[in-house]
């Protein structure tokens, strides 16, 4: 079974159709909406598998199908589909994880009144996401990118009657829009510089040698190569979407949406779009590596930002109490890892981590959703506790996810993918700082995940909600189990001993030697993290929900700062927000007095001219017409006076006319 590239559009089209069906289904048609969505997603999954088969025939080839969207004068706007192992693997991942999450959602959202709307949005999101993946044009990618943003906005604000959800939706939308501005500028610049937006177009695409060479050789302000500048602008978009350091603030708030949404969008797929974007345009990003003298390499920025994000997310996650928030910050941290990997030159490792992360983070979120569902929408881990007993399946799967995330060696996929990244970072010859940041993040990740598990699942129940917890229905647990299996197995696709994935994605890949020592180091660090986490939280289990956190007891200031997410939100409010207000005010003043004055002056001039013309017109030109029409009007008025509205009068006139006619005929007529 394989799918040729011409029919690649079917993959996003199916969920789009399902979204249409969902939008037209009345509220009572839950089965129709869910059935259409899941069916479309299942079909898309099958098609993706077919696409993967096609792509694997020649991993090095970029199969494309381009067409002209519309023509604009001499230039034409062209779009196209692209099929290579990256696309295919991502498609398979997105459709598979999406399918499982959709199935999970039927159970999780079953009580919701707007069930059909939810599934409509989910389908829309899936369609847009798949559109990003198959795009062979930066423009198509951008369109899908914005659609993804829209769907994300709709889904975060799905419970828009909650003010927090509405605010979070707005925040996410606006924050990502800031990044997208960069993306848009980069895209326009790219289009201007190369005249095309297609990635691969038989040698004329922007990712192909001729265009890249042209881009690298031009320089712009500050001695930057054009490719660097464009790459950095594109990276702005990626940073916004993937929640990288300065723009990461929206991601934790996005957890206000329903948990399946958090799992699908804000853990597994959408946030990975940024990583995917950088991986997709990797030739462009890495083009400036050829110039050793360049003041700044785009990938260095990516690596720095990734390292900062990885560390920052991990640190903040330590002090969070909301189960979904912890996972959200862990996502931020892991996305930082991926960016780090991209930055240090190993995009294959980034994609590898992306794939494994997608599975185990989706697993963690869905398990968290199951916990929340079971505990009657209690999300605070201090209020939970003791869930190990009642939620056996959930606990088991959550533990697997946790160990995968923490990077417990050998068995779990997270270990291998993280290992690949650290390996790449270690080998980066520019700086070792990202590598060390990654190591610290490894410890912290293990630490906070241990904390989470210990608080939520061990000990005794600390609130009525967790006391009455019960296992979720099969429709929710079965996806968990499937994801858990994948979270374990997926790691074996990319071990240093059998780097299938790496070779598939990048046929030129060759593993660097000397991984053994690094592996030992990271195993020690993971053990350290888990051990310290267990020492702090596991040995003396929390007895009451209101008891202070052990770290909080030791260093309250630091904990408070972390719990407040290091004040990024406040900082933005104080700086960006205030600056924005100031600028708006300034613009207002400028507008009102300076521009307006100029405009008024012009307008006054225009008015004067107009007056002059009008006078001429009215008195000279129109005079004659006016007189004529006045005449007409007065005549008409005279005539209309005959229309007295007196029906009797009309009738009488008719009768008199008749009499006169008859008389005329009789007296003067000839017969």
């Amino acid at each position: 079974m394989n799918l040729s590239v011409q029919y690649l559009w079917l993959i996003p089209a199916l969920p789009l159709l399902a979204a249409g069906i969902g939008a037209l289904t009345p509220r009572s048609g839950k089965a129709i909406a869910a059935g259409a969505t899941i069916g479309a997603m299942g079909l898309a999954f099958v098609l993706s598998c077919g696409a993967l088969v096609t792509a694997l025939k020649d991993p090095a080839a970029h199969l494309v199908a381009n067409f002209t969207w519309f023509e604009l004068g001499h230039s034409a706007v062209r779009l196209g589909w692209l099929l290579d192992p990256l696309t295919a693997l991502m498609c398979v991942m997105v459709t598979f994880v999406g399918l499982l999450i959709f199935i999970f959602s039927t159970g999780y959202m079953h009580e919701d009144a707007n069930f059909t709307r939810f599934f409509c949005f989910l389908s829309l999101f899936a369609a847009a996401m798949l559109g990003i993946l198959i795009a062979n044009s930066l423009l198509l990618l951008f369109i899908s990118w914005e659609l993804v943003g829209l769907a994300s906005y709709l889904l975060i604000g799905f419970w828009f009657h909650k003010p927090a959800a509405a605010a979070a939706a707005k925040k996410a939308f606006i924050t990502t829009r800031i990044g997208d501005l960069g993306f848009l500028l980069g895209m326009l610049w790219l289009s201007d510089a190369t005249g095309s937006l297609l990635f691969y177009d038989a040698g004329k695409g922007v990712l192909e040698t001729s265009a890249l060479t042209a881009l690298v050789t031009q320089t712009t302000v500050g001695g930057l190569a054009v490719s660097t500048a464009i790459g950095l602008l594109l990276f702005c978009g990626a940073a916004g979407k993937s929640g990288q350091f300065p723009l990461h603030v929206w991601l934790p708030d996005a957890m206000e949406g329903p948990t399946p949404v958090s799992a699908l969008i804000h853990a597994a797929t959408m946030v990975a779009a940024g990583v995917f974007l950088i991986a997709r345009v990797y030739p462009l990003m890495s083009a400036d590596q050829a110039i050793a003298t360049a003041p700044l390499h785009a990938l260095s920025v990516v690596a720095a930002i990734g390292a900062i994000t990885a560390l920052l997310g991990a640190v903040i996650a330590v002090a969070q109490n909301d189960i979904k928030r912890i996972l959200a910050f862990s996502t931020v941290s892991q996305l930082g890892y991926m960016m780090l990997a991209l930055g240090v030159g190993s995009w294959v490792a980034a994609i590898f981590h992306l794939l494994t992360h997608a599975f185990f983070k989706a697993l963690l979120f869905l398990a968290a959703g199951s916990v929340i569902h079971a505990a009657h929408h209690e999300q605070d881990i201090r209020q939970l506790g003791g869930l190990k007993g009642p939620l056996k399946v959930t606990f088991a799967t959550f533990a697997i996810g946790m160990m995968a995330l923490a990077g417990v060696p050998f068995v779990f996929s997270g270990f291998w993918s993280k290992e690949a990244i650290l390996h790449a970072a270690h080998g980066w010859n520019v700086s070792h700082l990202p590598f060390y940041a990654g190591l610290v993040a490894v410890v912290l990740t293990a630490f906070y995940m241990t904390r989470l598990v210990a608080e939520a699942f061990f000990g005794q129940a600390r609130s009525p909600a967790s006391e009455h917890a019960h296992e979720s229905p099969a429709v929710m647990t079965v996806p968990l189990v499937l994801l858990a299996i994948c979270a374990v197995l997926l790691g074996f696709l990319g071990t240093p001993y059998w780097p299938w994935l790496q070779h598939t994605l990048d046929p030129k890949f060759h593993s660097e030697p000397g991984g053994g020592g690094l592996m030992v180091t990271s195993i020690v660090l993971v053990a350290l993290g888990i051990g310290s986490g267990w020492a702090v939280y596991g040995r003396r289990l929390r007895a009451k929900a209101s008891a202070p956190d052990p770290i909080e007891a030791k260093v309250p200031d630091l904990f408070a700062a972390l719990a407040a997410r290091l004040g990024f939100d406040e900082l933005y409010a104080a700086t960006v927000g205030r600056l924005n207000t100031f600028l708006a005010d300034a613009a207002d003043v400028f507008d009102r007095y300076i521009w307006d004055g100029a405009v008024r002056l012009l307008a006054g001039l225009g008015q004067f001219t107009g007056n002059v013309t009008r006078e001429t017109d009215e008195n000279l030109v129109n005079g004659g017409f006016d007189a004529t029409s006045e005449q007409l009007k007065s005549t008409a008025k005279t005539y209309s006076r005959a229309q007295t509205g007196d029906t009797h009068g009309y009738l009488m006139l008719v009768a008199l006319g008749f009499v006169l006619l008859v008389l005329a005929v009789m007296l003067g007529g000839t017969r």
């Binding site: 008025k637 209309s640 007295t644 509205g645 029906t647 009797h648 009768a655």
Partner: protein, 105 residues
């Protein structure tokens, strides 16, 4: 004076027509005006029948058919006319025809 039956009929219908005309002209009540017009219509119908009965080509039966159509149309006219009267009444609270002159020039 020897009048043919046809002439008698025509005189009859003329008289009826004029009675209807005078009624329609002199009364201010819209219903009565409508009735006067009905009367004129009926007078016309009488002419049709008279010419069918005493005219040169009675066999065709066209006169009768015409009267039938005329009656049907007159019924329709009465229905619409009186519906209009009711609408006018609802609007101006009386049905004096000379007051229904909103559209005058």
């Amino acid at each position: 004076m020897s009048l043919s039956p046809l002439q008698l009929c025509l005189l009859f219908s003329s008289a009826l027509f004029c009675v209807g005309l005078i009624g329609a002209l002199s009364r201010s009540n819209t219903i009565l005006v409508l009735l006067g017009i009905e009367l004129m219509l009926n007078a016309a119908n009488i002419n049709f029948i008279a010419f069918w009965r005493f005219g040169p080509a009675p066999a065709a039966g066209t006169g009768v058919v015409f009267v039938l159509f005329s009656i049907a149309v007159a019924a329709a006219e009465a229905a619409v006319g009186l519906a209009l009267v009711i609408a006018v009444y609802r609007h101006q609270k009386n049905i004096r025809l000379q007051e229904a002159n909103r559209l005058k020039g």
